[in-house]
Symmetry: C2
Subunit: 386 residues, 2 copies
């Protein structure tokens, strides 16, 4: 389903020939209206790819008619020629659909520093425009065309009680860290909301979903989450109600990204509770999620709580270093800074691991979703040039 689940959207995914493998590599999502309201958030990395530079401008008026996405190349640090390729892509979409290039978001993913094959890409746009359809299959084709090292396409759908729908697709796999993960996400809805309401909802939803995913601590140059509203359902839900549904779709997609992260053998939820502030909870959870020693221990099924505390101690959060509790999968290994239950009680063989850190410093909490550090992660990221 994904981006064609909501009324008023057509999509396509085609083999443009950008990827050497010959796999699908170009997707197009088209808003049939009547509304063309949209919002988008981008990587907070200061080194940004050409499509991000373009799309930041395109979204400024809150109107987007189409999103074109390619895998097989990030078009990042490719200079003026690379920017021209992005511009030409938007122009070609505009020409094919009879819309303005300025209402087209462009997304690219793949290796940094290589030029995209411009002619191949533009021919692909024509192919994709011809293949546009509102069917579930068309949504699936689009979701499949944007993946890189992902093992499968990611899609999610939420249906509001009143009859409006949100659908989304995502690609991720590597360079998954906050300020958005390495990912391209397109979410569509037939709810009728103004661009400013979409923007507020999207920022609220991504702050507690994609921004809480930190698989490998590496922040991408190309991250984009675009939200397009067709208004085709004729229903205008309250922003708060819409945000609940949007957050559900974003959370679903984020957890799919976590579960399919490059080389991972464990999905780890790092929950920090009783923090003084939500920012403290996020800072502590993120510090643990970035400890290679902790992540390697989880790969080895070793409930090494000392490595958790060593990471907690690098933060500026409010806590008494000797007042912290740490539990792995419900077994409290450390209580107030001392060994408590036995490590032998912890079974880390299931893929999902929950680490619970109680700071005893307040009443706020947050969870970061991460993965373990494995041989396969090292292999994929040393052998695969991306």
């Amino acid at each position: 389903m994904s981006v064609t689940a909501a009324q008023g959207f057509a999509a396509a995914g085609v083999r443009a020939g950008i990827k050497a493998s010959g796999n699908p590599d170009l997707a197009l999502v088209y808003n049939l209206g009547p509304s063309k309201a949209a919002a988008a958030v981008f990587t907070s990395n200061r080194c940004q790819a050409n499509p991000v530079l373009w799309s930041r401008e395109a979204i400024k008026d809150g109107v987007i008619e189409a999103v074109v996405l390619n895998s097989g190349g990030a078009n990042c640090y490719t200079g003026a020629a690379g920017f021209q390729t992005t511009h030409a892509t938007a122009e070609k979409v505009g020409e094919a659909l009879g819309i303005s290039a300025g209402d087209v978001i462009v997304c690219s993913t793949g290796l940094i520093g290589d030029q995209l094959p411009r002619a191949t890409l533009l021919d692909g746009v024509v192919l994709a425009a011809a293949a546009l359809a509102t069917t579930p299959e068309a949504g699936e084709d689009a979701a499949s065309a944007i993946i890189t090292t992902d093992t499968h396409a990611k899609q999610a759908v939420f249906r509001g009680d009143a009859g409006w729908t949100i659908g989304g697709m995502a690609k991720g796999a590597g360079m998954l860290a906050p300020g958005l993960a390495t990912m391209l996400v397109v979410v569509t809805t037939d709810a009728d909301l103004a661009a400013s309401d979409l923007d507020a909802a999207l920022r609220r939803a991504t702050a507690v979903t994609f921004d809480r995913l930190d698989s490998d601590g590496c922040m991408s140059t190309n991250d984009t989450v675009a939200l397009l509203a067709s208004g085709a359902s004729g229903i205008a839900p309250e922003t708060a109600e819409f945000t609940v549904g949007l957050t559900a779709v974003c959370r679903d997609l984020a957890l799919q990204l976590q579960s399919d992260a490059e080389g991972a053998s464990h999905d780890i939820d790092i929950a920090v509770v009783e923090a003084a502030t939500e920012e403290d909870a996020v800072e502590v959870a993120r510090a643990v999620s970035r400890s290679n020693l902790f992540k390697a221990a989880i790969f080895g099924n070793d409930p090494n709580w000392g490595r958790v505390l060593a990471a907690v101690g690098t933060t500026t959060a409010a806590f008494d270093p000797y007042g912290i509790d740490v539990a792995f999968n419900g077994v409290q290994l450390c209580k107030a800074g001392e060994p408590f239950e036995s490590r032998d009680l912890v079974d880390l063989s299931p893929r999902r691991v929950e680490v619970l850190i109680n700071l005893h410093a307040g009443s706020r909490s947050a969870t970061i979703w991460t993965n373990d550090l494995t041989h396969d992660y090292v292999h994929e990221n040393s052998a695969y040039a991306s």
Copy 2:
């Protein structure tokens, strides 16, 4: 040589029986005087081990007569019983040498969260006190007794022109990050300097040596660098002159730690030049040193400069994202944010790799020493519980 290279120091390294392997695991360094001036710096981790809590107090008066170090257990997060073990260790050293326990620095390294076998440790102190000698071999024994996953002991010596000497020993291997690496270091000198001068020299030296080592981004709970001065040479060099020698010894030891980091197959120097400030240069170099994707690429001999820029972009340093140059081993792969020379010109097969990042934002520079991310790193830190 190491800690017995300077006049006025005795040392020993013995098999106390703390390590299950039966390898040497307890070292003692004794300052024979006439001066007992000392300085020390400790981990900036807020979660600190019991020996660090003890030693921070012991150094406050600038007088230290002995340092006792054990491998086989970090004595961190072991509660009141753990602190009593550290206290008892200092008391036992005091008793054996006829000095005050308050003039003894205690260092421990190994697994967090396990109690040390107190009786075994105290018996080891008696053994070590009986074995104290001023010979080069005694210094080597001490250096060997403090290692954990290190493959060999680390020692360094500097001889001042006027006839004074600095010698040092170090252990490292894992949890190597700033605010000191996971390491215990004892440096001795027969120069005659006041504690305040030693402190100034030590802070200056460690800031540009041990604090620039960031092997795996993980900060330890036990890091200690102790500097003891016997004054036995009868020579009182200028603090600036002494700092040069001390920095040379610390740099030598830090580079030995880098070369022997757990599982590493490359030693990577990340040099940032033309930064607006030294802090900017350090921030940028450290961000790159903590990118798992960059580190995995180096393991795979892949000069992936895109991953360098993606890491640079996460910092707050002053730069124009499209004005940055990146070179690998002298080959300028990226010039002003565009591809320049061919990746094929870069040979990453030698162990040492230099990544040069020119921010074109000023005139300051800094280098961080790091390592690649390898299968062996993952293996050692998943299979080895420490």
